[in-house]
Symmetry: C2
Subunit: 206 residues, 2 copies
DNA sequence: CAGGCGCCCATAACACTGTTATGTTCAATC
DNA sequence: GATTGAACATAACAGTGTTATGGGCGCCTG
């Protein structure tokens, strides 16, 4: 019972990783509805019960994928090189879209209830906010350096996030016309947002 | 066989309506995952087979709810009184949010794949664009009357829609802080968008 | 080194889902 | 009133997530 001699096949952490890898592949290849416990168990060459030995239930597996999706997003945003404040914010927006388009099924798990039996755990939701902080920091920087009107940076960042998410979400759902590329549309949206932030007009113009 | 004497219980159109009403209630009361064919059949006091007599499958029922959701949205937007061009666009945005918040489960069916076995039919997707046309027309009016910079009105409308959808979607999903009301956040976003549309800066400011 | 304990795993089942084949029952027609 | 045909309930099929039941293997103990 010496803490490292407990499993029959191999390292339990390794098994966990294998399960998550296969779940991730299954998700990316065939979409959320194809990610069933039976299919997953077949992939790792075992019975369903093995999955339940490593994870409490399907929710727990999806929770890990959810976290992995947000970690990819956070990492992609963190990779964006710092530049002038406004262009940096726009670069973050571009990176956000690239990440979502590159991992559409992950994005679904992160932002839609595409699997009935999944609702992210409170802890996971906390982690998900990490990526947001990068964006909020970038907005704050714009205000601090005086290139955007002062105000509640978090609020502005939330609005930016909403715009990014909405455009991407509608694009992934097929509501956007194919005549304009999603990239160009995002570019346009970012420009409008920037202009609105740089030069706010009086609160009550006609 | 005189075309009106075919059903055992009552008017088939009436039965259809009853099924959809119960489905709508079930959806609003207990969410998408509670909308099962068995529960629905129990609600109308019949067997599941009756549902399949009136609808090809569950998809067809959900398709009707999808259409009903977009019809409510279109009607709500159409009810917004015409005013000065820019305030009218903003009023449309406010009405859009009100409608979404008032019918959250409908909004889920319309914009997320919350039910695995449902994907709106091509015809339904066409109908869904009707509400968008109201928004696009309002943006075009701003350009025609010279209160917004000229450009592709449809593109701007798509961006506006994306912003609305993103903010509402994140709000419904619980990603927005409760410290600020969704209404106030939308107000702020609409203002930023308006300012960006009214006074576009040079395309390449720092 | 033999014994036995304990964990791991596969099988099969439960309760649920959408969907449908099998009979039964009722209403309109001849 | 008998017949025909459509509408219906029941029960089943193939799936789903999850778990209770046992068999089998590895490791510690005597």
């Amino acid at each position: 019972m010496s803490a490292a001699t407990r499993s029959r096949t191999s390292d339990p952490l390794e098994a966990r990783r294998a399960i998550l890898d296969q779940a991730s592949q299954l998700l990316a290849e065939s979409g959320p509805e194809a990610l069933t416990m039976r299919k997953l168990s077949q992939r790792i060459g075992a019975s369903t019960i093995v999955l339940y030995r490593h994870f409490r239930d399907k929710q727990a597996i999806l929770d890990e994928l959810y976290l992995e999706g947000f970690e990819r997003l956070r990492a992609d945003l963190a990779r964006v090189p710092l530049s002038d404040p406004l262009p940096y914010v726009m670069d973050l927006g571009r990176a956000y879209r690239r990440c979502a388009i590159a991992n559409p099924t992950y994005y679904q798990v992160m932002f839609t209830r595409c699997i009935a039996e999944f609702d992210p755990s409170p802890e996971s939701r906390e982690v998900s906010k990490q990526s947001f902080l990068i964006l909020a920091g970038a907005v704050q920087r714009c205000m601090d350096l005086g290139v955007a009107a002062r105000g509640d940076a978090a609020q502005i960042a939330h609005i930016l996030w909403g715009t990014l998410h909405g455009l991407i979400s509608l694009e992934l759902f097929g509501y956007m016309p194919p005549s304009v590329s999603g990239e160009a549309r995002l570019e346009h949206a970012l420009t409008i947002m920037r202009d609105g932030l740089v030069s706010p007009l009086s609160p009550n113009i006609p």
